[in-house]
């Protein structure tokens, strides 16, 4: 049976098509999920894509968190289903309290779009198994609310438990605390990050690098072997 990976479309999701394409390029079956539909249509994993759901009005991810589909996603994620939140999806995950902390306006107050260097700090999550721990990769970053924040205790806890999954290297682009670009939950099935791996999957497109494909091949392997 093919592995089915769902990508949720909220009103204002923008990178949902790209995420579906990345899933397909990795060899899994992409499944489009609609925010109003509680049914996950037997997918094996879910991607919450980038964009400006509900215009990012109020706070990024704040309104989407209450959508019907998220009710199911939250329940399933707690039961172990792999979930990847990219950019706006990461913001939805923190707003839903599936991941700790919150995202704030970039410290320079501008939207920033660039090819960002990251270090994979945790290569044991469901979404990072195809990387080496410590590996450096380039992934496009594009957001205005990308500054990761949590209280000191939470940060210490994340560090101690190896739950900082990705860190910015060669310069912090937005003032994120401890250069955090992405984190995972304790079980390693829920991962969120600000940069966009789905934009680094084809050699000709975007920055021309394919460093992001590993996210999607990682999950495929995990699900096939499970």
């Amino acid at each position: 049976m093919t592995t089915r990976i769902g990508v949720v479309t909220f009103p204002g999701s923008l990178d949902d098509r790209d995420a579906l394409r990345a899933v397909k390029l990795a060899g899994a079956e992409p499944v489009s999920l609609w925010h109003r539909d509680k049914d996950l249509h037997q997918v094996d994993a879910v991607v919450l894509p980038g964009g400006f759901s509900y215009g990012d009005y109020l706070r990024a991810g704040a309104i989407s968190r209450f959508s019907p589909v998220m009710e199911t996603v939250i329940g399933q994620a707690k039961a172990g289903m792999p979930v990847l939140g990219i950019c706006n999806g990461f913001q939805v995950l923190t707003e839903s309290h599936l991941l700790p902390g919150a995202m704030l306006r970039n410290n320079h107050l501008h939207f920033i779009c660039k090819d960002q260097k990251l270090r994979v700090e945790n290569a044991d999550t469901a979404w990072t198994a195809d990387y080496e721990s410590g590996q450096e990769i380039y992934i496009p970053l594009k957001n205005i609310d990308g500054r990761y924040t949590a209280d000191e205790r939470t940060l210490d806890e994340l560090e101690a438990e190896g739950r900082v999954a990705f860190r910015y290297v060669d310069g912090n682009p937005n003032g994120s605390l401890r250069d955090i670009a992405g984190i995972t939950n304790a079980a390693g099935n829920v991962v969120g990050l600000m940069p966009h791996p789905e934009h680094a999957v084809e050699p000709l497109i975007g920055t021309g690098r394919t460093d992001g494909l590993g996210f999607f091949t990682s999950i495929l392997k995990r699900l096939v072997s499970a």
Partner: protein
């Protein structure tokens, strides 16, 4: 206040209406009375006044724009020509592309963020109204002096607005322009381009055919946006001295627009739409009159059914409101429920406000009374047309006589070196990534090339790699020296940029930014530019698919340079063969294609080094541009070159520096025989490009150029980490990079 219904107007023929306050001339008001055979109602006057404005009626420019149709080159690629929201071009494999550039100059000066944001919003709606999925935007921008305090207010706001709207809409920004010049101080130019893709069978036109079909207004609620003038009509006394409570500024809601895109395209896909029209300038006045007159002519609208944001709006104000993010669709009665269901799915408010009738009148009702009864064509298409007086400006001879080749040239290598640094660091030539990094260029996952490449390139088919490339260009300094040639130079540069990436130019759109048409000198500039552009398009075989005119860009006597901006669209069969600009490999040979003459009129060198504008602009040779284009396209297709960069502002050295910085490799240049160093480095002769040729391809490439008669001069090699002109100077890349990157952040960061 009694409602000024049609009946009331008939009974009170002597009532004076404030036509002058609404911007109409006496003869225009008389024309309206004649059309109707009575005085207009307030609502009718509101409609005529906005639709007959310069902005909507093109009354001063029409006679000149006609040439774009009359002289249009025969082209198999045109599927829909001028006259629709946007033209449509066949790009092969069953795909069609629609693209258009539009101005939002004045609003962006008043409120930079919202003005620029709603500029993007407006042009995107034009594209979706054609049935196309928007796939990219571009933003040609012009500001006053870079170090002027007001530019600090305008530029960051405009950039944030374009980014804020475009990013939230999910459209990659793949290019544009940023130009600084004193002449734009009180009149910045904010032009916006959008390109969309569809299959041939999905093209939709704005018309309301089919008696009984329903007119559906969907999108944002209607508020009092941008209707300063109409408030006069709403007040009982028509007292224009009372300050208007209505905002002249429109606020954009990109989230709403994103929903409009999805819901419109879904309705198209389900074949639910007979005709469609976006609401932009002149709002419902424009949408209803255009839809009706492009159909059979009859339409009945119940204005009470328009969903309002502000319940105190008068019918005149509702008709004139320019509230953003609204569309109007004509739908068969049997499909209305399905259409409304799609809107509901996307949380978009949709309301049936009227229907197509078998008459030939546009009739609008308010509280049960008829307030508009007009032949829709007279509102939408048969407005006044003027042949305004024109005169070649008397200052032009003196300006052209002030030859730039007499300007002092550098005495030695050291001075040349200093001039190169100064040029590269000047605001117009400096790195623009402080601006472009505020734009999402990755979204939709099809961006092959974006800033700072010669053109933006988008893949439109994942399987075959079919793609389109677009560049926008304009040079107001050239056009000031000679508007006819200036327009052709804009066309030539844009054409060259597209060809440099390996795409074949197919068609153009243009935005003509000019000063007041009521000044004979400004009108002459406009006429010359139109003529130049039409002649140029005929010669290059690239038809004009549509565009926009922005007049009155002047503050008092301070007029902008005439600034025709041209956007050229090209097609490439497989984006894998695109040619980037970066010199990425050591040892590759640098060839200069084309002829270099002593041409400094209007050049960046004259401006930056000497603060000079005068003489003749560089000579136009469109036959040469076409040949250069063919060579660049063949070389890309056959893999003969690894990089190409067209030569324009700043000449050869600017192009070489940009390609070196992008690739991270230096270049060793040798002065060709017969050229002095200043001409070699800084001349802006047209029809030129610099290419990087792998040694293995050198013979094949030079043979091809020789056989086709294009001069190709070997000028150096990609090498080291400096840009060096042998025997004259050497500039480390690190030094070039630091001055090139520092300028814009220092001014605006």
């Amino acid at each position: 206040m009694t409602l000024d219904s049609v009946k009331h107007a008939e009974q009170t023929p002597e009532t004076e209406l404030p036509w002058a306050e609404l911007g109409l001339k006496e003869n225009e008001y008389a024309q309206i009375r004649e059309i109707l055979g009575r005085r207009p109602t307030g609502a009718e006057l509101a409609m005529y006044s906005v639709m007959w404005s310069e902005h909507c009626s093109y009354k001063s420019s029409k006679v000149h724009l006609k040439q774009f149709g009359d002289k249009a080159p025969a082209s198999d690629a045109m599927l829909v020509g001028i006259g629709e929201q946007a033209g449509v071009v066949d790009v092969g494999q069953g795909y069609a592309v629609t693209f258009k550039v539009e101005s939002h100059n004045h609003p962006s000066y008043v409120e930079p963020y919202q003005g620029a944001a709603t500029g993007i919003g407006g042009i995107v709606r034009d594209i979706i109204a054609m049935g196309a999925r928007p796939v990219a935007v571009m933003d040609p921008l012009r500001f006053g002096a870079a170090d002027h305090p007001d530019t600090k207010r305008v530029l960051p706001g405009v950039v944030a607005g374009i980014g804020g709207y475009g990013n939230c809409l999910g459209l990659p920004n793949i290019g544009g322009e940023v130009v600084f010049d004193d002449c734009y101080q009180g009149n910045p130019l904010v032009n916006a381009l959008c390109v969309g893709v569809m299959k041939h069978e999905d093209i939709h036109l704005a018309k309301a055919a089919g008696v009984g079909n329903k007119v559906i207004l969907y999108g944002a609620r209607t508020g009092g946006d941008g209707i300063g003038g109409a408030s006069i009509l709403a007040s009982e006394t028509f007292d224009s001295s009372k300050p208007s409570k209505r905002p002249a500024v429109q606020v954009g809601d990109p989230f709403q627009e994103k929903l409009l895109i999805e819901c419109t395209l879904e309705a198209f896909a389900e074949d639910l739409v007979v005709g469609i029209q976006d609401l932009g300038a002149a709002g419902l006045s424009c949408a209803t009159s255009e839809l009706a007159s492009n159909g059979t002519g009859g339409m009945r609208v119940e204005l009470d059914d328009v969903p309002l944001r502000d319940s105190t709006l008068s019918p005149e104000e509702i008709l004139m409101s320019e509230s953003q993010e609204r569309m109007c669709a004509v739908v068969e009665p049997g499909k209305v429920d399905k259409f409304l269901a799609i809107c509901e799915k996307w949380d978009v408010i949709a309301t049936v406000i009227g229907e197509v009738t078998d008459g030939d009148r546009l009739e609008i009702f308010w509280h049960g009374e008829q307030i508009v009864d007009v032949p829709p064509r007279t509102v939408a298409h048969d407005g006044p047309v003027y042949e305004r007086p024109m005169a070649r400006p008397e200052w032009l001879d003196a300006l052209q006589a002030d030859d730039a080749s007499k300007l002092a040239r550098a005495a030695d290598g050291d001075e040349l070196r200093g001039q190169v640094l100064k040029l590269v660091a000047s605001p117009n030539q400096a790195d623009k990534s402080w601006i472009t990094s505020q734009y999402d260029r990755f979204v939709l996952g099809n961006t092959v090339l974006s800033q700072p490449e010669d053109s933006g390139m988008i893949r439109i088919d994942d399987e075959t790699g079919l793609g389109v490339a677009i560049s926008t260009d304009g040079n107001g300094r050239y056009a000031k020296l000679d508007p006819y040639q200036g327009a052709q130079l804009a066309l030539a540069e844009s054409y060259r940029n597209v060809a440099a990436t390996g795409a074949k130019p197919l068609a153009i759109t243009d935005c003509l930014n000019f000063p007041s048409p009521e000044d004979p000198a400004g009108m002459w500039q406009f006429a010359e530019a139109c003529k130049g552009l039409a002649d140029g398009c005929l010669e290059l075989g690239t038809p004009v698919t549509g565009g926009n005119v922005s007049l009155y860009n002047q503050t008092g006597d301070a007029a902008i340079h005439p600034t025709p901006v041209v956007g050229v669209l090209g097609v490439i069969d497989d984006v894998a063969r695109r040619t980037p600009m970066a010199f990425a490999e050591e040892g590759q040979l640098l060839y200069l294609l084309g002829d270099t003459r002593e041409e400094f009129g209007g050049s960046a060198w004259s401006d930056v080094i000497h603060g000079h504008l005068g003489g003749q602009p560089p000579a136009v040779d469109l036959e040469r541009e076409r040949l250069l284009g063919e060579i660049l396209i063949s070389a890309s297709r056959d893999g003969m070159i690894d990089a190409a960069h067209d030569l324009s502002d700043g000449g050869l050295i600017q192009a070489v520096v940009e390609s070196c910085l992008k690739g991270g490799h230096g270049a060793r240049l040798v002065l060709p025989d017969g050229l002095d160093a200043t001409t070699f480095l800084f001349s802006e002769s047209q029809g030129r490009a610099v290419v990087a040729v792998p040694r293995s391809e050198e013979l094949r490439f030079t043979d091809m150029c020789g056989a086709r008669g294009l001069p190709a001069t070997r000028i150096g090699v990609v090498d080291g980490d400096a840009v060096e002109l042998q025997g004259q100077f050497s500039l480390p890349l690190s030094e070039l990079r630091s001055v090139w990157e520092a300028t814009i952040p220092a001014l605006f960061g």
